[in-house]
Symmetry: C3
């Protein structure tokens, strides 16, 4: 094998590793949103690094977490049986920094209906994430967003839900 074709093969191996890693990281975030809105905490846990750092800033909240367990506990309380969430992640811009480190930007569009609080929050946000590859699997180790816009609307009339997956699969809130 000539030096030249050897070099080309090395570059190819590198290019293909990067393409595979980009696809793998997209899948982590894609699975994250699927698990989030279906309250699938067991599968979602595996997508997050134990030392997860998180910082999300909205109009009426400023949430910070420095580990996966606290973050998951917040999610299970939020995506409860009296909640409906629609979280879609758009426009991934993934940068592979090394064989185990990457960053990503995403454009979130979300709708959050709280039947308990009789309130619906709608908005968009730009996520900035960091990913770490541990034991062969990519995980989110740092995540945060700032909002482009957010509206919070009182909804005293509950939405006319003909299907409500979280009613069965979300955590029961204590009776208030």
């Amino acid at each position: 094998m000539s030096a030249t074709s050897g070099d080309r093969l090395e570059r190819l191996l590198d290019d293909v590793r990067v393409l595979k890693d980009i696809e793998a990281i997209k899948r982590v975030k894609h699975a994250y949103f699927r698990c989030l809105d279906t309250a699938n905490w067991e599968e979602l846990r595996e997508l997050l690094h134990p030392q997860l750092q998180s910082k999300m800033v909205g109009g009426h909240y400023h949430l910070e977490f420095d580990n996966r367990d606290d973050y998951l506990e917040m999610l299970a309380n939020s995506f409860n049986s009296e909640f409906v969430g629609q979280h879609t992640g758009h426009h991934p811009e993934i940068d592979i920094l090394s064989e185990t480190e990457a960053t990503g930007k995403w454009y979130l569009a979300d709708i959050a209906m709280s039947l308990r609080r009789q309130s619906t929050t709608v908005g968009t946000a730009i996520y900035t994430d960091k990913y770490l590859k541990t034991n062969g699997a990519w995980q989110i180790i740092d995540t945060g967003y700032f909002r482009i816009y957010e509206t919070v609307t009182a909804t005293p009339e509950p939405p006319d839900l003909s299907v409500h997956y979280l009613a069965e699969h979300g955590r029961r809130l204590p009776v208030s």
Copy 2:
């Protein structure tokens, strides 16, 4: 060429085939949603395998089909000239099982306005698909979803449509 670089080339060929197939399958589903909301049944037909199995469960419907023709007939009746559809597929998670078989998960967000029935359905769902490569082209051979949530709202006032593509391109309903 040494055995080692030969092995690496084999692995590379396999990795690149998988990456190409993932992109090709995403395109099939992407074209599907474009054709759906524009009532382009001629192009959509080519995206489906003749033996398509389909099962979609909503709050007020449970639709099952076991062939492409019946499925297309249902679509043409649904996406009629008095209908507006917004169907976006998010968060693909594609697994290539072999050179001709694959599976996929998608997160659907949809809005369906029926001007005839004066009703708007909004919701999300998780799709599970199977894909088959036949004569060099991937097609959907099995598709189905369960809903995360769905609302059905009476809309006696028609939406103030300044553009309505299906009014011209959708099938005319019989006068009721």
Copy 3:
């Protein structure tokens, strides 16, 4: 190196170039939508070719541009400090035509709230784009869409915005 494995390497190089270009072009459009809704004109400018052709047809507008500067000026006036935009691009179908030319289809879903005009426009559209690679970077050189549907709704009550990024980052409109 045998002729056969040399041929396979050539095909691989070509396949990987195409996969990298598809990902690079998706990123251009992804960054475009992020920059659009955050009024980041400096970064957005780099995503567009100086000879950009643009043609967008809605219910109450027919916008055509034949250069980047005029197009950017229109955007800066539209995405002003009394505006909220939510533009998400779905379902990319990218065709790489050569090492420097490509085309793409996208499915746009958009919400545009004008606080000044007390009006909200909602709809979807199919984009057809052309991309050109110049000095190693892909840029949009031709873009246009037709709408699937569009509604324009009077909103005399302003949306209850708890976050409004453009209020600070969008261009100030002259007092009317």
